[in-house]
């Protein structure tokens, strides 16, 4: 049984500062981490492997830094990692990204299950999983908060707004996971050392038989601007010598605002 997990390494959100002039987030040079939900997809795959055997493969479209990020995936328990790194593939939209990932999945081949987070936390897109399922003609189970494999079928508890659906599909299939599915393990020092000896393969466009120009042309969504909305709050500190005084002042202020009757 071979599982392939789609991972994206993204800037550490807590480290992103905002340019005070342009209000643009400064992401250059920010340390990157595997997006939290993708990491949970990896954890889910490792747990399925622990129960059902087989191997777990990590796959990422990234750049030279992504190799370092993949070491964490290997330390957690992935058996091998593939990074697609081609200068022509920077800043692709979800359509083009999915074309690249689908080509890489085909090249790795022989998979029973493809897993990913339901979204990555940088773009908040929720697209790549279902898109890859479509491109590879796989059934999809999205928003899984539990996943297991038995008798050649995958079963997931699908977390919808008002209902949990227990759903099954034959293999191969694609599963996206929500935060509730698990807590990712923290790799031990020994496993971190071992990770460096595991296979990590880097592919560029020609390795996947892709025409980089055609892929770029399939990137349809353009980002016009990204800004952090200015905090337009009064930011008034209620100064007082006691809790009672602070509470009394606050109550009065809220009445003055008309939000308390």
């Amino acid at each position: 049984m071979r599982q392939i997990v789609l991972l994206k390494d993204i800037p550490d959100l807590s480290e992103i500062k905002v340019d005070s002039e342009t209000r643009a987030p400064k992401v250059e040079g920010v340390k990157r981490r595997i997006s939290d939900l993708d990491k949970r997809a990896l954890e889910a795959a490792i747990r399925v492997k622990e129960a059902a055997g087989g191997e777990v493969v990590a796959l990422s479209l990234g750049d030279e830094k992504t190799r370092t990020s993949m070491l964490e995936a290997l330390a957690m328990g992935a058996d091998s990692a593939y990074v697609v790194d081609d200068p022509a593939f920077r800043g692709l939209d979800a359509n083009a990204t999915s074309l690249v990932l689908a080509a890489a999945l085909k090249k790795i081949g022989g998979f029973d299950l493809v897993l990913a987070g339901e979204m990555t936390l940088d773009s908040l897109g929720s697209q790549v999983g279902p898109r890859v399922a479509e491109l590879l003609d796989l059934p999809q189970l999205t928003y899984a908060k539990e996943v297991s494999v038995a008798e050649g079928r995958v079963r997931a508890v699908v977390d919808l707004e008002d209902v949990d659906e227990v759903a099954e599909a034959g293999l191969p299939a694609l599963v996206t996971v929500v935060r509730e599915i698990n807590e990712p393990r923290i790799p031990s020092l020994i496993n971190i050392m071992k990770a460096k000896k595991k296979p990590l393969v880097v592919w560029a466009a020609p390795d996947l038989g892709l025409d980089a120009g055609a892929v770029r042309a399939a990137s349809h969504v353009k980002v016009l601007s990204v800004t952090a909305p200015k905090v337009e709050r009064k930011q008034i500190r209620v100064e007082a010598d006691s809790a009672e005084e602070a509470a009394a002042k606050l109550a009065q202020l809220l009445v003055g605002e008309g939000v308390v009757k």
Partner: protein, 308 residues
Amino acid sequence: MRFLVYSEEPEVGLQLVGRARALADETGGEAVALTASDASPYFGVGADRVVKVVGVEGHDVEHWRLALVKAVELAKPDVVLMGATRRGKALAPRLAAALRVGCMTECTSVGVVGGEVVVERLTYGGSTVARETCTSRPAIVTVPPRTYERPEPAEKAGETVELRVETPEPRVRVVERRPKPRSTVDLENAPVIVSAGRGFKAKEDLRILEELAEVLGAQIGCTRPISADLGWLDQWVGISGKKVRPSLYVACGISGTIQHVAGIRDSQIIVSINSDESAGIHGLSDYSVVGDLYQVVPALTKALKARA
């Protein structure tokens, strides 16, 4: 521009038809709705035509992808507007991949600028707003429920086109449905919310928040850890939970992570009570008290009661 609108939630579909109508009028275009249920309400909110899907039952994502690919062939829209419910968010990218077109998800606004669809959506965990456009035809756009208000229905009729879809045996089988206990709390529409963060040391201590809620006529919210990790309350406020828009939001013992703050941005007045002077929430509030919530919250309850 021509808009094709679909959501499996009829109410969301009506909201989006309303938006599509406004944009169609702006651009001299058309609003077409897609549904498997009753077509008539869509005319009342501005649909020029309704494509009525016949032959698709239930919510199988691949069946609906088939129906939508056919509907796109039929209606030739410039933009497909879909509801960003979880089912909608599972379907929209699958449709987009089938058509090899661009998709923009969870858009907080949709407009047309210079003949191109331009949206706003949150990025970087909810801390930033991106303006995006899409060069493909159609562009797929998903919009969360209640982003746009459903227009007042008018007495109108229009043309209904039947779209027959042959569906194969579904590959995903739903073997059990477990309805979630309906929460009695409607945070998204609550006019006042008092909310708990990790500053609360024990579940029993939420009692002081309940007392404050009672005097304010407020609902009780919390941060993700309080709900998802500790299970003290059944729903949390934030980018991954409920996005709220009360006139008053009182954050008690909340540090103010970007994921949480993204969910309270539309509040009219934000108050923070946190003993940590350096907590980020203070700078994101209208009024902040640096103090022990175990003292300030009961004192505030008392002060408000004294006024009543």
